[in-house]
């Protein structure tokens, strides 16, 4: 009898959670309650990292300091150019009469190193709804797009990486503007492009940027570079493989970005980004 009740309850929960995501607040409360466990599980790796930082020779420290200084110098010089370009871009946009692009809010988060299901490309970060993180938010690292938030609690949230086989991200080729959808395949740093016509203007080494279609990922962030291209005139679509530019590591930092409130939001049909691809599974 109790088993029956348990089974029915679970089935009802699963149905509502999977179908409509009605249980977001319930999940939020539950994961907030369990957040301490996640932070405790992260402690050992945190400790080793801390130990590694402490146990360093003076020589190593000054060397890494010098490296960082050099890097800052180079980045600063590049920034000078960027300021000028930004001004120019704003001017041109004014001439064209289109809205200026502004930077929204951004926040750095640390990855909490906890075990996730083998095969699933997910990470957990140490920022949650207290900091304003929301489901569907885009997440970057220093090099490019890494994924999107799939669930939040008050103090931590879970991110689905773009390489997960449940994930798809709309992209465009930087050089030619060709559009495509980049699907994750469950392999590290690997994406495959869907719906690229055989005649499309795309080459190996092309950089793919997020196209902003779907309103989930902002426009113009680097996603991947094309590594393999097979065109077959008999088939209508080309086979295109790409490697992510983001490093997708299990430790380190990520950047959360908020959409710019001042920009006008297009009323594009809101397509849910994490597609569930039909795949066959043998077990």
């Amino acid at each position: 009898m109790r088993l029956f009740v348990a089974v029915v309850c679970s089935a009802v929960l699963m149905f509502f959670d999977h179908r409509d995501r009605h249980l977001e607040t319930f999940r939020h409360t539950l994961s907030t309650f369990l957040t301490p466990l996640i932070y405790v599980a992260d402690l050992p790796s945190e400790f080793f990292f801390w130990g590694g930082e402490r146990i360093m020779t003076r020589d190593q420290l000054s060397k890494s300091n010098q490296q960082l200084k050099d890097e800052i110098f180079i980045l600063r010089t590049q920034l000078q150019k960027l300021v000028a370009l930004k001004a120019e871009n704003a001017q041109l946009r004014n001439l064209l009469g289109t809205q200026q692009k502004l930077d929204g809010r951004r926040l750095v988060a640390d990855i909490i190193n906890v075990a996730t299901e083998p095969g699933a490309h997910e990470i957990v970060i140490n920022k949650g709804s207290v900091q304003g993180v929301f489901v569907g938010q885009a997440v970057l690292d220093a090099y490019g797009v890494i994924g999107q938030v799939i669930s939040v609690s008050s103090l931590h949230s879970r991110i689905l990486l773009i390489t997960d086989s449940r994930h798809a991200i709309p992209v465009r080729v930087e050089r030619s503007g060709e559009r495509a959808v980049a699907l994750g395949g469950g392999q590290l740093n690997h994406l495959s492009l869907q719906y690229v016509r055989s005649t499309a203007d795309i080459k190996e080494g092309d950089l793919l940027l997020s196209s902003g279609i779907g309103e989930r990922f902002p426009d113009g962030y680097p996603v991947a570079s094309v590594t393999k291209l097979v065109t077959d005139s008999n088939r209508s679509y080309a086979v295109v493989e790409a490697t992510t530019v983001a490093h997708l590591a299990r430790t380190g930092q990520v950047l959360l970005i908020w959409p710019d409130e001042s920009s006008d939001v297009l009323n594009v049909v809101d397509e849910p980004e994490p597609v569930t691809t039909e795949a066959t599974h043998e077990s």
Binding site: L3, I150, S283
Partner: protein
């Protein structure tokens, strides 16, 4: 019922919390493949030891917690853990009498049933590629069971949980 037992009941939940942390520990890839399901082992132990206290409801709650921690669909582990608890409740008197090795095999079987159910439900709700290595932890569960059993039995005696 002695009044101590009521006070020490929290130790059962502490052991579940520790088991959950063990499940979440980040590990090198090679170890991760074999990492057993500590929560399932703890749950079976407590069901066999104190079936009047820990049963399907506890299993369901624990399953729900796992769902929240793992980010799987809510109710997925709750369902599979409840069913595992149901079978454990059917068998607990026999499991108590079994020699340690046989016990380990039955526990592995129970966890295997739970894993099979979990796998089905996961493939329904989160279709990612899962390989045969999914079943490797089952082996470590069987091997580690005697130690988990001794550890939790000592805990139970220490705190007079019954």
């Amino acid at each position: 019922m002695n009044p101590d037992a009521r006070n020490n009941y929290y130790m059962v939940w502490m052991s579940f919390a520790v088991a959950m942390i063990l499940n979440l520990l980040p590990l090198p890839k090679a170890l991760e493949l074999f990492w057993p399901d500590w929560v399932a082992m703890a749950l079976i132990y407590w069901i066999v030891a104190i079936p009047h206290r820990v049963g399907i409801l506890t299993a369901w709650l624990i399953g729900l917690f796992i769902d929240a921690l793992e980010g799987s669909v809510l109710g997925l582990h709750a369902l599979s853990f409840s069913i595992m608890a149901y079978f454990s409740l059917l068998l607990y008197q026999r499991i108590r009498l079994f020699p340690r090795v046989k016990q380990a095999l039955v526990v592995a079987l129970l966890i295997g049933v739970q894993m099979l159910l979990t796998l089905w439900l996961k493939n329904l709700t989160q279709p990612i590629e899962r390989t045969m290595s999914y079943w490797l932890p089952l082996m470590s569960n069987a091997i580690l069971w005697p130690w988990v059993f001794i550890l939790l039995r000592d805990l139970r005696r220490q705190f007079r949980i019954n």
